[in-house]
């Protein structure tokens, strides 16, 4: 590790320590469930594993083993340690196996996800029919988050440990084997599996499995045969077990086999049969194997194979038969939802054009879109909006990149303009008649690596051209250094000159989308150009042609159409019968016409055969001295070769690029051979996470607080006139003071202020119990679990008043203080109300674990500017940023600096929320704990440099991050490694941040719900520093170079495998000194928060408004077939909704409005059998037909197929038939006329 990296981490850790000390002191004073901070710090994976498991000594052993062997081997090594008692303090064999299995899963998931604690319920020893003992592992649903390999290996480790501690193998009974098969089929039907083994395969596994796989019931549906088995507790599907068996053992058999081979103690010879598929009694081996393979690859894109085949075709003969193209994939259009527009149909002309590169806010499942395009699609795209995409992945987060080409639109006045400035986009937006082209779409090389997608043919872009130019012998360096030359955006004449002089392909800026027009259209266009004339438009502008000349063509629909298709800027003036083109020289040359000088007065020259003698008359202002330019077509249609005439992808002759190359005096490349279809997925997110209803304090008040759970109301609540107001009976944990034996529910003795302890009793014999080492409380005599929970009368009024007094606040300090109805944790320990009072005062609410959280969509960024983060250079310098990405000293706000791995950018909303939280923490420290305030925030600049926790759902480990600045985009920008450390990528995922001290002070495991999954999403451990080799390896596939080589672009034309190309990716720097730095990018962007701040999806009101906007946009977009969109919305949204609700209606449950009891069928008494209350339907007419009229209207308006319309008609009549009385039809006004 480099010195500066070490220093960086030390800065983070010292601030962490500082906060930790404050929190420890505070905790010792307050009435929290535990007198110490409950989030242990983990410096590395070993620490995390140990902390998440709570088994001492694991970390040390893991570190020992880490350097020597793979993680999988280490897990097996640790199993031995557990078996022999070297690690963990277990007396029972079951305990040893359990410890080993949990550790293995934790190790393989890098101690981040909740699977090791939540996914394995318990391990027990049971007896075989022959009297020997066997091991039973009890899996639960959250084992899912471990992934197949870790699941499978957990079984192996269990078996290995079993063998080591000397327990026999499991001998499944026949009915149990059958049960496994039935159950997995049932689970697949109910929930779905990635891979579903066939019954025979399942039975084969079950028969040979040396330990018993068991688990909790996860579904409602029950198996029909093989019920009520002695050793299986439930008749429902055991989800955790099904996952382990199907996606673990069955799918990952080859991986397990690798490890069983090296172990003498365990022998799984049957694995070979499983892999070979030879578990069938007879032949048919191959078939099963193939199917397993298929399933394996199911997750891969449909297009993959086809595209690969395409590539093969291309290499078969030297002379390709057509242009290289990817295949269409319609998958992303599936399940189109009303209100989320389609931006481009698969590979459609006018859609997003694939450009390769990584912008600084890009990579890791994101897509770069020009901010002008974001505005032009009616603001439906914003920074962080998720799109479902055709390739290379399935989904991506949208990031604004303005160094790529913007969209081209046709305005109502006939102008066809490319819009490269978001401001322009907003200005002209109302006049847009058609979006002819959505502009470029930036995808980085790493995406193709990550998705294992063959490279798609690259657009001809500046990055490629400049390398072609160099290869052609030009002194690119000299050109770059020439201040008069803009190499990326040259004048048209320069572009032509370079192409001719160096024999290099024409500059992409003037290369149009010739491949999108047919050869016929091209010939037609060339003819029209030859007929065209050069005029001085007299506006004095030099249109880059060295003068203010423009090309004027006669107006013709076919010509206009061709110009629109090749995306050439021009003006259509239908009324004046002209089409005007400004940058005409490269265009004219490309269509094989030569400009020839002629004298203006026409007299000096013979009148040209086309009889354009009128020209001078039409241009009376033209200086008669000035020579005019004649255009001469240098070729005829017959000159085109057979190959050029028939060149095409979908149809012969639909691609004019070969024709262009035959007639143009220079090489013209395919400008944009790959279009990428996509549609909107989820909108971006940046909002505080509130429980519903929001909760300020985890203090139970039962029903007394009303539906609002208002503590103040509860304090005044009395059931009857006789009751004392504020006395509420709730379930809470009984605590006892060890000093004075006072019984209370608080964590401190109200009499002597000593810390109290839970008072466990046996529910049967009321014997007082002590928890054992594992924390389990069981009565030895009655063999039942003890508990400290009891119904207790609490004087909420008294508690509320004294809490107000103790923090010195009055009731008017906040609008409302919301408590909870009851507690869901094991021991039902309430939180001190004081914390809630201060939260309410600062208008923040708490999550189930006592922390205040803010959710944001994840986006990556590797280099930032002070200017875009609303911070100054001084602040960045204080954070250790001394130099910009070029190594220059940091002096200016616009300099780009490379982001450090744990620094994050907060959205404006997050910053505001963090300030509120910080104020709450400061008050809490001062008014509750009696300490100095910690944050002292005056404005948001004070947040810069403060630490936060980042945490993703389904995980149990938080990662420490540092605030470096702010953005107006509604997303959380951070280093890709930071996101990967939390196990997120950026394809629309979201997770939360919490303020460091809030987590340290207010989080307690004691608040976590006592149910499956309760420990997910809770910071059971935190990582103080990121180790790049211990993060989600998806981030390792991000490319980190400044430029892609020319060979790469050429390889894309071959649709090569991405691995065959040599571009440095993050993986290459792992384990080196450079692992934290050197994340270079190929494209810059002006600001990481361009385009709309919020997607229109969020700003539009009702679903109907969204859908109207969606359909309106689909009309505007050239690349979208609006009828198809309407069909899909009806087919995938409205019809399923209508049909589903109608079906639900006619077989619905009913529910009591008073007590909530549900009935499968309407009770014959009519009223609730439980409480006598009013029972009503759960599905009403209103919910059944809410979309009916809209759907019919849309079908009509967008000219959907009769089939769709008729389906709606039939449904409408069904609804009428069910909901209308035939004898009492609604009469219209005409009945009275």
């Amino acid at each position: 590790m480099r010195e500066e990296d070490e220093q960086y981490f030390q800065t983070l850790e010292s601030r962490l320590d500082e906060a930790f000390d404050v929190a420890e002191t505070a905790k010792q004073r307050g009435g929290d469930p535990k007198p110490e901070v409950e989030i242990p710090t983990a410096r590395d994976m070993a620490d995390r594993v140990e902390n998440i498991l709570g088994i001492d000594g694991v970390a040390e052993r893991v570190r020992e083993l880490e350097g020597e062997m793979s993680r999988e081997e280490a897990a097996l090594e640790l199993a031995e340690d557990f078996a022999e008692g070297r690690v963990g303090d277990y007396e029972t064999k079951a305990g040893k196996v359990e410890g080993a299995v949990r550790t293995a899963v934790a190790l393989l998931t890098e101690g981040v996800v909740a699977a090791p604690i939540e996914g394995i319920d318990k391990v027990e020893i049971l007896e075989n029919d022959d009297g020997t003992e066997f091991v039973n592992v009890y899996y639960a649903g959250p084992i899912r988050s471990a992934g197949g390999t870790a699941q499978a290996l957990s079984v192996l480790v269990a078996d290995y440990t079993r063998a080591l501690v000397g327990i026999d193998q499991f001998k499944a009974r026949d009915e149990e084997i059958e049960r496994y098969a039935e159950e997995i089929a049932l689970y697949d039907k109910e929930t779905g599996l990635q891979y579903t083994p066939k019954d025979k395969e399942t039975k084969f596994i079950a028969k040979h499995m040396p330990i018993m796989l068991d688990g909790e019931a996860t579904g409602d549906e029950e198996v029909s045969g093989f019920r009520d088995l002695e050793r299986v507790d439930t008749n429902s599907a055991r989800g955790g077990m099904c996952l382990v068996m199907a996606e673990g053992i069955a799918l990952k058999a080859p991986k397990i086999q690798r490890y069983t081979r090296n172990l003498d103690e365990v022998d799984w010879p049957w694995l070979q049969d499983l892999i070979d598929g030879t578990y069938y009694d007879d032949a048919g081996d191959e078939e099963s194997e193939d199917e397993a393979d298929d399933a394996d690859e199911e997750s891969a894109d449909d297009g993959d194979d086809a595209a690969a085949e395409d590539a093969d075709d291309g290499t078969e003969s030297d002379e390709p038969q057509g242009p290289p193209r990817v295949d269409k994939s319609k998958k992303f259009l599936r399940d189109l939802i009303a209100g989320r527009p389609v931006f481009s149909h698969p590979c459609a002309e006018g859609g997003f054009r694939l450009r390769y590169g990584r912008a600084r806010n890009h990579g890791f499942a994101t897509a770069g879109v020009h901010p002008a395009a974001m505005h032009l699609v009616d603001d439906f795209l914003a920074t962080g909006t998720q799109i479902k995409t055709e390739r290379p992945g399935k989904a991506a987060g949208v990031v604004p990149v303005d160094s790529i080409e913007g969209p081209t639109v046709k305005l109502a006045n006939g102008d066809v303009r490319r819009i490269d400035d978001p401001e322009d986009a907003l200005e002209i937006r109302n006049g847009v008649e058609k979006i002819l082209d959505l502009g470029e779409y930036l995808v980085n090389y790493g995406e193709f690596v990550e998705n294992n997608h063959p490279l798609a043919p690259a657009s001809y872009t500046y990055e490629w051209w400049v390398q072609d130019l160099e290869a052609a012998g030009a002194d690119v360096q000299a050109l770059e250094d020439d201040p008069r030359i803009d190499l990326e955006f040259p004048d048209p004449e320069e572009a032509v000159e370079w192409a001719v002089e160096y024999d290099a392909p024409l500059h992409p800026e003037y290369t149009y989308l010739w491949h999108d027009i047919s050869v016929d259209a091209f010939c037609n266009l060339a003819a029209a150009v030859a007929e065209g004339r050069i005029e001085q438009d007299g506006d004095g502008s030099v249109n880059g042609n060295g003068d203010d000349s423009i090309l004027v063509l006669e107006h013709d629909d076919a010509v206009a159409d061709a110009l629109e298709t090749i995306v050439l800027e021009h003006r259509q003036r239908e009324g004046e019968d002209r089409i005007e083109i400004d940058d005409w020289r490269p265009f004219v040359r490309t269509v094989g016409c030569e400009p020839r000088q002629a004298v203006a007065d026409g007299a000096a020259l013979e009148p040209d055969p086309d009889g354009r003698g009128e020209e001078p008359e039409r241009e009376p202002d033209t200086d008669p001295e000035e020579p005019t330019v004649e255009l001469e077509r240098t070729w005829t249609d017959d000159d085109l070769s057979e190959r050029a005439r028939t060149w095409g992808h979908e149809a012969e002759g639909d691609n004019a690029i070969e024709a262009v190359n035959e007639v143009a005096p220079f090489e013209v490349r395919e400008r944009s051979p790959t279009r990428i279809g996509n549609r909107m997925g989820r909108p971006e997110k940046s909002e505080s996470r509130d429980l519903s209803p929001a909760v300020h304090t985890l203090f139970p008040i039962g029903e007394a607080g009303g539906t609002q759970r208002n503590v103040a109301d509860a304090a005044k609540h009395a059931e009857t006139m006789q009751d004392t107001p504020g006395i509420v009976e709730v379930q809470v944990g009984r605590q006892r003071c060890p000093d004075c034996d006072t019984e209370t529910f608080k964590n401190r003795c109200p009499d002597c202020n000593a810390r109290t302890e839970p008072d466990y009793r046996c529910p049967d014999c009321d014997e007082r119990l002590e928890p054992d080492d594992a924390g389990r409380v069981e009565c030895d005599r009655c063999e039942v679990e003890g508990t400290c929970v009891e119904p207790r009368e609490i004087d909420v009024n008294e508690e509320f008043r004294s809490a107000l007094e103790s923090v010195g606040e009055r009731e008017n300090a906040f609008e409302i203080l919301k408590g909870v109805k009851g507690l869901s944790s094991t021991n039902k320990v309430p939180e001190p109300i004081e914390k809630g009072i201060l939260r309410a005062k600062h208008d923040v609410s708490t999550f189930k674990d006592g922390t205040v959280r803010y959710d944001m969509t994840d986006l990556p960024v590797t280099a930032v500017r002070a200017s875009e983060l609303d911070v100054d250079v001084g602040q960045l310098q204080a954070l250790g940023y001394d130099a910009d990405i070029h190594g220059e000293p940091l002096t200016h706000e616009d300099q780009l600096i490379e982001l450090k791995v744990q620094d994050i950018v907060l959205s404006d909303g997050a910053a505001e929320h963090m300030i509120k939280t910080a104020d709450f923490i400061d008050d809490l420290l001062e008014q509750y704990y009696g300490l100095e305030p910690f944050y002292k925030i005056d404005d948001r600049q004070d947040l810069v440099g403060e630490l936060v926790f980042g945490m993703a759902p389904h995980t149990s480990a938080a990662t420490v991050g540092r605030v470096i600045g702010f953005t107006s985009a509604a997303v959380g920008y951070a280093h890709p490694y930071f996101h990967a450390a939390k196990r997120r990528n950026c394809d629309g995922d979201e997770d939360c941040v919490m303020l460091l001290l809030d987590g340290l002070l207010n989080f307690s495991k004691s608040f976590l719900p006592d149910q499956r999954g309760g420990k997910m999403d809770a910071p059971l451990v935190m990582s103080s520093r990121i180790d790049p080799s211990e993060i989600d390896d998806e981030a390792h596939n991000m490319d980190i170079v400044r430029q892609y080589p020319r060979e790469f672009y050429e390889a894309t034309r071959e649709q090569a495998d991405p691995e065959e190309v040599d571009i440095q990716i993050a993986e290459d720097t792992l384990g080196t000194d450079g692992e934290y730095t050197g994340f270079e990018h190929t494209h810059d962007t002006t600001d990481i928060a361009m385009g709309p701040d919020l997607s229109a999806y969020k700003t539009l009101g009702s679903m109907m408004e969204k859908m109207d906007a969606q359909l309106e946009l689909s009309r505007k977009l050239e690349a979208v077939d609006e009828t198809d969109v309407a069909e899909r919305v009806i087919e995938y949204h409205f019809l399923p909704d209508l049909i589903g609700n109608l079906r639900a209606f006619s077989r619905q449950e009913t529910r009591c409005l008073d007590c909530g009891e549900k009935f499968r069928r309407m009770p014959l008494t009519g009223e609730c059998r439980e409480c006598g209350g009013q029972v009503n339907l759960t599905v009403h007419q209103g919910s059944v037909n809410k979309y009916m009229q809209t759907a019919i209207q849309v079908a009509e308006e967008y000219d959907c197929r009769d089939y769709t319309k008729q389906r709606l008609e039939v449904l409408e009549r069904s609804l009428e038939s069910i909901f209308e009385n035939d004898k009492n039809k609604q009469s219209g006004i005409e009945d009275f006329m």
Binding site: S1146, R1147, R1160, M1162, L1177, Y1203, Q1206, S1214, N1221
Partner: protein, 520 residues
């Protein structure tokens, strides 16, 4: 005529109107002279037998071996049926010599001039709710439907037991003998393998325990939720539960005597035409229509269609890809054209099915005016599903049969299966309700009364939907599930359903005997 192999035997047997057990066929095929054995068998088999069982074969084989030869037989004549019982349309007749006196194949038989005496005919409809749908989908509508069900089915049970309301039972002293009539509210197994059945009446629910070692524990397998039932038993000591001693279904009386027509007249019972589907068997249909014009079909004066005239639109996802005619109205027009091919003097009754363009929820009203207009050619009676049509005194309960799927899924295979759809129909007759279970596959539209109750015992119960041919008698009621006119679809292939396509069961209304005509 030589018979080879099982297929021939089965074909011959079905042509004579018999179903056969697999063992019986095997035995026949294994006989020294299968031909003779078969003829003998048909001679010997009791008149009321519909299925050839192995005991019949054994008896026949014994007879053959004792006599050494088989006398020529004329099975159809034996059964009082002058016409041979099969037409394969294009094949040569396959029945014995004696059967060929009336050639039936289309080429061989001249269309005849049908003469019918309209005065002899009678056709009445009961239970048609078309245009009578008064429900508006309110909670109360549902409650009254179920109350009506209990009221009407309960009345068939109340005379048989000394019943008490649920609310009164729990107040009775433990150990009392009690009985109750109610709808099944819940069926579950207890941890010890007994069955707990909750009966509900208008006063509440009461749990009844069926011990696993009692004889009628098998009946529990037949139970469906929401069917009406009476139970008798003994109250537990705490009166919280009762132990079942006996169970009663509304059922059809064993002694039921069906009505018959006064003259020899026949009805063709078909369903599931599925016009518009790529798999619609147009040729088979045309052969059927042609056959109706022949001498052999002279007595067929009624055509009953139990739903699914067309394939419909949007019945399942991406259905349009498998449609021959995508437009729903064109489907009905095509159907109407096909229907025009049958003799114009046939009396036609139609009910809709789940593929038709009416609501899916049952009862389904008959087609609307627009569709009636399209199908007006033969002036058919278009009535709701279900409806009862009484033809010359013989009442036919027509129901499309969606609930059969559920009965087959829920009941053990030996009691209801796709291979024996009529057995599933027996269950509905026993429960006296065409679609008892609420909340599962079957959809219910609440109306003022429960149109799905089988109030009066029908003489014939006619369903379709499952695309399997099967018929038999349950307490003298003839249950017929007509096959279909749609060849195996991809979906059916994927779930291994082999439909019986292109058959027309013909019922003699004077004897209720069934012959099956095959046109595929």
């Amino acid at each position: 005529m030589p018979l080879e192999g099982h297929a021939r035997i089965v074909s011959e047997l079905t042509s004579r109107g018999y179903n056969a057990e697999r063992e019986a066929v095997t035995q026949l095929a294994a006989a020294d002279d299968p031909d003779a054995a078969l003829e003998h068998l048909l001679d010997e088999i009791p008149d009321d037998a519909l299925v050839v069982r192995s005991e019949h074969v054994e008896a026949a084989l014994n007879a053959v071996s004792s006599s050494g030869s088989s006398p020529p037989t004329e099975s159809a004549a034996d059964r009082g049926d002058p016409t041979p019982s099969v037409s394969t349309g294009t094949d040569a007749p396959v029945s014995g010599d004696s059967a060929t006196h009336a050639p039936v194949e289309t080429e061989g038989s001249e269309p005849i001039e049908r003469t019918v005496d309209a005065d002899l005919r009678s056709l009445e409809i009961e239970g048609d709710m078309t245009g009578q749908s008064t429900g508006t989908g309110e909670y109360e509508d549902f409650v009254s439907v179920f109350r009506d069900r209990l009221e009407r089915l309960g009345s068939k049970l109340r005379g048989r037991v000394n019943h008490r309301p649920a609310s009164a039972i729990q107040d009775m002293p433990g150990g009392s003998e009690v009985a109750m009539v109610g709808l099944v509210n819940d069926i579950r197994s207890t941890a010890s393998g007994h069955w707990l059945i909750e009966l509900e009446d208008a006063t509440g629910t009461f749990p009844w325990l069926v011990m696993k070692d009692r004889d009628y524990v098998d009946l529990v397998d037949e139970l469906l939720c929401d069917e009406a039932l009476a139970m008798e038993g003994t109250l537990a000591d705490d009166s919280g539960i009762a132990f079942v001693d006996s169970m009663y279904f509304p059922d059809v009386p064993r002694t039921y005597e069906p009505s018959t027509a006064d003259r020899h007249v026949q009805a063709a019972l078909i369903s599931d035409v599925h016009v518009g589907s790529e798999e619609f068997m147009e040729d088979a249909w045309n052969r059927f229509a042609d056959w109706l014009h022949t001498e052999q079909a002279r007595n067929v004066e009624y055509l009953l269609l139990a739903g699914d005239m067309v394939e419909g639109v949007g019945v399942y996802p991406d259905q349009d890809e498998e449609l021959d005619i995508i437009d729903i109205y064109e489907q009905y027009e095509a159907f109407s054209e096909h229907l025009k091919k049958v003799p114009g003097d046939l009396e036609i009754v139609m009910i809709p099915g789940n593929h038709d363009a009416v609501r899916l929820a049952e009862p389904q009203p008959g087609f609307d005016e627009e569709l009636r207009e399209i199908m007006s050619a033969h002036d058919p009676e278009i009535v709701s599903n279900p409806s009862t049509v009484t033809v010359e005194g013989v009442s036919v309960l027509m129901y499309h049969g969606v609930s059969l799927d559920e009965v087959i899924a829920e009941l053990p295979e030996e009691k209801a299966s796709y291979d024996d759809p009529h057995k599933a129909m027996y269950q509905l007759l026993k429960k006296r309700h065409v679609a008892p279970q609420f909340g599962g596959h079957t959809r219910l539209a609440p109306e003022e009364k429960d149109y799905l109750v089988i109030d009066e015992v029908p003489d014939i119960f006619h369903t379709g939907h499952v695309h399997k041919l099967g018929f038999g008698k349950y307490h003298n009621v003839l249950a017929i599930n007509s096959g279909c006119w749609q060849a195996q679809t991809d979906f059916q292939k994927s779930v291994n359903i082999d439909p019986d396509a292109g058959y027309a069961p013909i019922v003699d209304l004077d004897t209720l005997d069934v012959t099956v005509q095959k046109f595929s």
